[in-house]
Structures are given as structure tokens and as C-alpha cells.
């Protein structure tokens, strides 16, 4: 008997027929939605026999029903605020005009899909769907945004995107899809945060397609603190031209099940990617990171630094695949994943992979799972720190490598503050 690689899950997208006429987009996108929906129905959800989904168990998701959320104006929603030049707020998967600030910045086009033209929306018809989940998102996304920075423009301040799941989000799928393009030499700082109410079993599915022209630079920050019953999926596909750079700093500590996917494609020479992230899990949570770094051209560099902290009942997985294609000579690719267990009833999985088809490259990867150093704890306690303070200090030190070099001080403090709160709730407080 062969085991099924995909899980049949009609209920997950069961209301497509009911809602498709209400979904935004011109005919060309409607056709693409139908085709994507058919393709999802034919495949189903990926199961654990699909290598990339080995550690991310969707059985629970497959058993549930998630209907499209009702449109809301989000008037009651409270958005997180970081210093920002402009802010888009999505509530239950829909743009909230009252909570947003569509600032008029020269060289920046920032448009929520609910305000986009049919021509702009048509662009979404041709965006790749590389697996059934992406197809499902394409079939049923309700909103999202288009962000474009013109050639040579450096946007001052950060653009902030807030995704909120409010009350009435229970059993709803909140699907957004974004297209971000930076012109030649353009630069942008983008902050995305995901938040939701505890106790509601909603499913966030956000997909961003990012295209960086020559010498463009995008610094992206992601903060995931969804509600405790949520399923969170966030995928970024990033295409980089010559000398473009993409940096991503992420912290994920919310939701019941979370999967962050980052797929950079280094399509130009001397392009660079830095991915740094921390993920914290406990009490039945699973936090997964899946990266696929595709070095298609030579003289590029990539660096990945991920750190996991697990308390009792937490489960994490890091799967990091680095592909160095035949033309990608002089590639420099490093990957590091370290996990810290605060309790032995936690489970950390790490699966670094290297596929190298070029012969003049420098690649490294390392993965570890360990516990707090007993001698270091004693050292701190001998100086007067309580056991909880000592543990908190060591955990924060363990995560420091991910955030210590962040130029954005406000954001660095925001990340660290949320880590402190998490530790306090775990009894590892200061």
C-alpha cells in the first residue's frame, strides 16, 4: 500500500463556489482563481510524506472547516504602532481604511487590493503557484496590497503592515496576497506584524511576492504573535536582480501552529540575502521555518541565522535548503540553526540541506540542540541573579545574535520586549 502524500480536505476550501463572485479581480484573475482552486482540489493539503512538510502536520487543519471571513471595517481594532511613514491595517483579511494611513510619499505606490484597479489586480493572475497551498491562496485571497518603489527612491521611515484577527475570526480563513516591487537602486524598510485574539481557531495565510531590481534593498521585519488557537502561514518569495539585497528579521511566538517560508532566488550576480529569525514554542505549539535559498547566479552571498527556544510541550522545525546552481560560482552561503531546550519535554527538529552543482563555492551549515549551561547559570546566580533572572539572561543572550545588530532601535526593543514577556509567562522572568 502506498501512503498518500496529500491529504484530501474539501472542507478547507469548501465555500469557494459561494464566494468566488465576491472575490476581487478582473475576469483574467477570476479564471486564474478557478484554475487554482481546481488544482488545489485535485491535490489537497500536503501530508507528512511530502518532504518539505515532514515536520508540519496539517492533519488538524484538514479536519477543520475554514470559511471566508466577513468584511469588517476594523473600527474597533487596535493596531500595533511602530514608527512608520505609512501603515496598512488588515482586519480579518480585509483592508481597514479607518485604521490605516496611506501617506503620500513621492516614489511610493502603496495600494490595498480593495482600492486597486482591475489592471493592477490582473497582475495577480500570473503569479506562480508552486504548491497546493499557494493555489488555494490564489483562489481565495480576499485582500492584500501592491507596493512599488520607483527607481532610485529611498523611502524614509518604515512602512508598516498590520494583520489583525479580531473577534468573529473563529473558523475563518484570512487569506491575503501581496506584490512588492522595488525599482533599481530603491530601498525600503517594511514591518509586518500578525496579531490575533486568543481562543479563536482562525487560519492566517499570507503570501508575498517580492521583486527586487538591480541594487534595490529591502529590509523586512516580521513579528508573529497570533492568538493561541490560530494556524499561521506566511510565505515570501523573493527574486533578486544584480547586487540587490534582502534582509529579513523575524520573531514568531504566537499561534498554535505556525509555518514561515522564505524562498529567495538570487537571480543576479553579487546579490545578497540575510535571514535571521527566532522562534519560541511551548504548550502544544509548533513553530516551523522553511527556507529555500536558490543561488542561481555567481558571486552572491547568503546568511541564515535561526534560533529556537522551546519550553515544555513546544515543538519546532527548521528546514533550510540551499541550492547552488551550476552557474553560481563563487557563492558564499552560510546557515546556522541552534535550539535551546528549557524543558526536555520539548522537541526541536533541524534539517539543513545543501545541494551544490557548482565547484567553486563556500558553503557551511550547522544545527544544534542544547540546554542552558549549568555553570553559566551558577555564575550568574553567584552574582545575585535569581534562578529565573539568570535563565532569562541566558535565553536572551542566546537570541541576541538574531537581533543585536538591528539598526531600527524601536523594533529591536519591541522584539526583545516580546521575548521578555514570553519568558516571564514561562516562569523565566526577570
Amino acid at each position: 500500500m502506498t501512503l498518500k502524500r496529500y491529504i484530501d480536505s474539501p472542507a478547507v476550501a469548501g465555500d469557494f463556489e459561494d464566494v468566488r463572485d465576491k472575490l476581487p479581480g478582473p475576469v483574467v484573475l477570476a479564471d486564474a482563481r478557478q484554475s487554482a482552486y481546481d488544482s488545489f482540489r485535485a491535490a489537497g493539503l500536503p501530508g507528512p510524506k511530502v518532504e518539505e512538510w515532514k515536520y508540519s502536520n496539517l492533519t488538524k487543519l484538514a479536519a477543520g472547516t475554514f470559511s471566508v471571513a466577513e468584511r469588517t471595517d476594523g473600527a474597533g481594532a487596535e493596531a500595533a504602532r511602530f514608527s512608520s511613514a505609512a501603515r496598512l491595517v488588515f482586519v480579518n483579511g480585509f483592508f481597514s481604511a479607518v485604521r490605516s494611513n496611506l501617506a503620500d510619499i513621492t516614489g511610493l505606490t502603496l495600494t490595498p487590493l480593495s482600492k486597486a484597479t482591475q489592471d493592477q489586480l490582473a497582475q495577480f493572475a500570473s503569479l506562480d503557484d508552486e504548491d497546493s497551498l499557494s493555489a488555494l491562496n490564489k483562489a481565495m485571497f480576499t485582500d492584500g496590497f501592491l507596493l512599488d518603489v520607483a527607481d532610485g527612491v529611498e523611502i524614509p521611515g518604515a512602512i508598516e503592515i498590520v494583520y489583525l484577527a479580531e473577534e468573529h475570526a473563529d473558523r475563518k480563513a484570512l487569506r491575503t496576497r501581496n506584490l512588492i516591487t522595488l525599482g533599481e537602486g530603491a530601498s525600503l524598510e517594511l514591518i509586518e506584524s500578525f496579531r490575533g485574539s486568543d481562543g479563536q481557531a482562525y487560519w492566517t495565510q499570507n503570501i508575498s511576492h517580492i521583486r527586487l531590481a538591480q541594487k534595490a534593498a529591502l529590509h523586512s521585519y516580521t513579528l508573529q504573535q497570533e492568538g493561541d488557537k490560530a494556524v499561521h502561514m506566511n510565505r515570501k518569495t523573493v527574486h533578486l536582480a544584480d547586487a540587490a539585497s534582502f534582509e529579513n528579521h523575524s520573531l514568531q511566538l504566537g499561534s498554535e501552529m505556525s509555518r514561515t517560508e522564505i524562498f529567495p532566488v538570487l537571480n543576479g550576480e553579487e546579490a545578497g540575502v540575510t535571514l535571521k529569525g527566532a522562534y519560541l514554542a511551548r504548550n502544544g505549539q509548533s513553530q516551523d521555518i522553511f527556507t529555500r535559498m536558490d543561488h542561481a547566479k555567481g558571486h552572491c552571498q547568503s546568511e541564515q541565522v535561526f534560533r529556537g527556544v522551546l519550553d515544555k510541550g513546544g515543538k519546532t522545525a527548521f528546514q533550510g535548503k540551499v541550492i547552488v546552481e551550476q552557474d553560481a560560482q563563487k557563492t558564499n552561503a552560510d546557515q546556522s540553526c541552534k535550539n535551546l531546550l528549557l524543558d526536555r519535554q520539548a522537541q526541536a527538529n533541524a534539517k539543513p540541506e545543501l545541494l551544490i552543482f557548482a565547484d567553486d563555492v563556500k558553503c557551511s551549515h550547522g544545527a544544534t540542540v542544547g540546554e542552558l549551561d549549568e555553570m553559566a547559570l551558577f555564575y550568574l546566580e553567584s552574582r545575585g541573579l535569581s534562578p529565573a533572572e539568570a535563565r532569562a539572561m541566558l535565553v536572551q543572550a542566546f537570541l541576541a545574535e538574531v537581533f543585536e545588530e538591528l539598526d531600527n532601535e524601536e523594533l529591536r526593543e519591541a522584539f526583545q520586549s516580546r521575548i521578555r514577556d514570553w519568558l516571564a509567562a514561562s516562569g523565566v522572568n526577570s
Binding site: 553559566a376 551558577f378 546566580e381 553567584s382 552574582r383 545575585g384 534562578p387 533572572e389 543585536e404
Partner: protein
């Protein structure tokens, strides 16, 4: 200040200390010497409250309180400081942040308010200067990439900033060149006062040229086998442990 009565300590299945008796009065400096494996580090860890050092018998009173009832951080809060033989490296924690947390943790234990940041910074810089520690090292992670001498200086800066009433220094002189030894000795001597006491655990007499003890004890096979004045260290230096009838198995 400190009264140790018949202290027995086991590490794992092995009994290391087999009945240590020692009284240290206010303002006194005591030195404990002894061959490798005699139990010197075990004594320091047991007094400082490290996990895994099981007290099987005996009593320790620290300023009238039962020390053995207290956790490691509470012992620090009561005024004890352990200078480590091998100071631990802590990547990701800056020296300054560490000192700030430690100072305020001790103050919290004593029911005091946090020290104002400016005052703390001034204090730390002043102590670092006195002990010849490059101020840049205050910004670096605790002990990471420090030479042996720098680590020991750093221990002395911590001690000066935390200002304990009792310093327990475990082979603080090991691995030091002569200049570093002078600085470390100066750090110890600065702490000397009629209200404070010091227990130096050392393998060599040379530290005692700079920090002259009031009493010298020899620890061998888990017990104090001989006590005397500062001249006892000179006898050991000249004649070795064999001169007082003890075999130094590791020498």
C-alpha cells in the same frame, strides 16, 4: 563572619570534604592551600551554593544565618562573593548589562531601589580604571575573548562594584603573569577592611607575597590538617607539602 563546623560534602557518589572546621572573623584574611584534589574548589562551590554539591553533614553560619538554607543568589544577597578559578564566558551579555543586573538584583534582595543608571555607570568606570581594565571591555560580552589575566581583572571589577562583605576567591591567582597578579592582589587588598573578610584559596605562595593573610590553613584529603600564621605558607613554599607530611599527588 563565617563559621564552618564539621562540613561534609559529596559530589556524585564521592565524599570530597570529610569534616572541615573553620572560623573566619570580621576583617580577617584566611588562606587555604593544599595539593590538587584536596577539596579546595569543592569547599568554595559548596559555600557559594552550587547545585550538585551535597552537604551530608555539618553546619555553616554566615553572619549568624544558616548559610546552607540559602540558594546561591541569596548567599550573594547576604554579601558573599565567589571569585571563580575559571570565570565563565557568557556570549550575548555585555559586561555592563551584567553588572547593572547584578547590582540591582542584590539591591532588590536587600529591599533597596535600583541604582540610578548614571551613578552605576560612574561606579563601574571608576572601578575598571582603578583595576586597569580597558573600558572597552565593559561593552564586550562577559569574559568572551578575554585573556586569562583580563578575566581575573574582570572578576576583581565585579567584586569591587558588588562590594561584598565576604570574598571567597578560588585560585584567583592561577594563570596570571606578574603584572596581572599585582593588579588582582591590589583588588583584593582594596577590599580589606575591619568589617570584611576574605578567604583565599590558592595553590601558590606567591599571591600571599602581595596579600598577606592573617591565617593559613592546609586542606588535604577533605580536612584542614594544619593551620598557622602567614609563615606556614613560606614553609610550604620552601619544603612543599611533603615538608609537613602531606603527599601532593598531582604536583
Amino acid at each position: 563572619m563565617l563559621e564552618i563546623k564539621n562540613l561534609h560534602v559529596k559530589v556524585g557518589d564521592k565524599e570530597i570534604l570529610k569534616g572541615v572546621d573553620l572560623n573566619i572573623g570580621d576583617g580577617e584574611v584566611h588562606a587555604i592551600m593544599g595539593p590538587n584534589g584536596a577539596g579546595k574548589s569543592t569547599l568554595s562551590y559548596a559555600l557559594a551554593g552550587r547545585d550538585g554539591y551535597e552537604i551530608t553533614d555539618g553546619e555553616v553560619l554566615f553572619r549568624g544565618k544558616n548559610l546552607l538554607d540559602l540558594d546561591a543568589h541569596e548567599r550573594a544577597g547576604e554579601g558573599m562573593f565567589l571569585g571563580f578559578q575559571y570565570p565563565v564566558e557568557i556570549p550575548g551579555v555585555s559586561n555592563m548589562n551584567f553588572l547593572k543586573t547584578a547590582v540591582n538584583s542584590l539591591r532588590k534582595y536587600r529591599g533597596e531601589e535600583d541604582m540610578p543608571a548614571v551613578e552605576l555607570l560612574k561606579l563601574v568606570r571608576e572601578k575598571a580604571k582603578e583595576l586597569d581594565l580597558d573600558p572597552e571591555m565593559l561593552k564586550r560580552p562577559v569574559n568572551v575573548g578575554f585573556s586569562g589575566g583580563e578575566k581575573k581583572r574582570n572578576e576583581m571589577v565585579q567584586m569591587a562594584v558588588l562590594d561584598p562583605v565576604f570574598a571567597l576567591l578560588d585560585e584567583t591567582d592561577s594563570g596570571l603573569d606578574i603584572d596581572a597578579l599585582r593588579v588582582v592582589s591590589e583588588g583584593i587588598n582594596r577590599l580589606r577592611s575591619p568589617e570584611k573578610s576574605i578567604l583565599l584559596i590558592t595553590h601558590y605562595q606567591r599571591l600571599l607575597d602581595y596579600v598577606v593573610p592573617d591565617f593559613v590553613h592546609v586542606l588535604a584529603d577533605g580536612r584542614i590538617v594544619k593551620s598557622g600564621g602567614k609563615e606556614l605558607a613560606l614553609v610550604l613554599e620552601k619544603e612543599g607539602y611533603a615538608g609537613i607530611g602531606i603527599e601532593d599527588t598531582a604536583a
